[in-house]
Symmetry: C2
Subunit: 197 residues, 2 copies
DNA sequence: GTCTATAGGGCGATAGAC
DNA sequence: GTCTATCGCCCTATAGAC
């Protein structure tokens, strides 16, 4: 395995662990275990836990923005309306959930805006998201806010793992209202064995 | 000062600290300092850090649901439509931001759904929010989802402290689009001295 | 009730072998 | 490049005085 591959392996594992436990709650040892390497190696590879988290955020943001761009390219040939654009961005966004850790690690960073190191990075990321949706995708500010609102609700529903209470009828009603066509993904995330039922 | 007052003092301080740093990142020492008491006393008062966090969540959820109910009472006499109800709930929700810590401590709990202790509590809280909005306030599931979407966006914008970059024009545009009439509150939260400018 | 002092455990980071 | 061993710090929780 080449160095770049091992680096990507650790980054992917770290995104999941940071997404689940938050920046402070995640341990470099848990990341190392998830990646199948030793704890000191994780630290040595990135210099520090903080630097590892920043690398995770950069990678997650890149994937998110790429997803937005490919969504725009999907419907872009026919100069679509705001609603069509926003709907397509939303669909691709939900598919991102399959790559556990990307959206949740970003969300964990967003909740640490008061941190003197992470805060500025999180705000810069948030601004990049806004500009990409407005300038590259071509959404109006109002449409961007709608997309972001739905996205933050989805992030929260995934973060709280509400689908774990799927047997509860009100949970089903809420999830099916919030994600009319994409509930299956949430159920997969809550319980990998329940995807087919 | 009576015991119940001191308890409320510690709970209020804890809500802010947990909201800013997350459950793991918050230290009982920081809570104690914010409340002006000693660190061991905070632990003794609630038994453990986990029990303190759970008390914070219970208090925060109670205040949130009370806010929803008072919003409904505000417009309730004239059997209002869904849009009017949802708008009133949204207005009162934003006013809750003045009580720093309430919404953010809940949000921090929502991001820890994978935690075996906090996860079930967070999910139960989420379900109570949904049922209150649907059954007591009388919103349709679709209207509840709209209210929750906007709420999660606001929580995230406050958590990331985007208003700290107020001099950035795109930040102004985003915040004024997301909270047309209530931007002042975000600016107060970002910088207590900037409320009048 | 509330404090000071401190024990005990976990985690990030370093040293150094291979 | 990758590991094992370990240091030193910080944080929760306990002991015990007042």
């Amino acid at each position: 395995m080449r160095g770049s591959e091992r680096r990507e392996l650790v980054l992917s594992a770290a995104a999941e662990v940071f997404g689940e436990r938050g920046y402070v709650g995640a341990t470099t040892d848990a990341v190392a275990r998830a990646a199948g390497v030793s704890q000191p190696y994780v630290v040595r590879m990135f210099g520090s836990k903080a630097a590892l988290f920043e690398a995770v955020l950069e990678r997650s943001l890149d994937r998110l923005l790429e997803t937005f761009r490919s969504a725009a390219a999907e419907v872009g040939r026919s100069s679509p309306g705001q609603q069509e654009l926003a709907a397509c961005v939303g669909r691709n966004y939900v598919d991102l959930l399959r790559d556990r850790g990307i959206l949740l690690s970003l969300m964990q960073a967003f909740m640490l805006g008061a941190d003197p190191e992470i805060g500025p990075i999180a705000r810069a990321g948030w601004i990049r998201v806004y500009r990409t949706l407005r300038d590259e995708i071509g959404l109006t500010p109002e449409a961007v806010v709608d997309v972001l609102s739905g996205g933050m609700l989805i992030n929260t529903l995934v973060g709280v793992r509400l689908a774990a209470d799927w047997e509860e009828p009100d949970v089903r009603e809420l999830l099916e209202t919030a994600l009319p066509t994409k509930v299956g993904i949430l159920r997969e995330l809550a319980d990998p064995d329940a995807s087919g039922t």
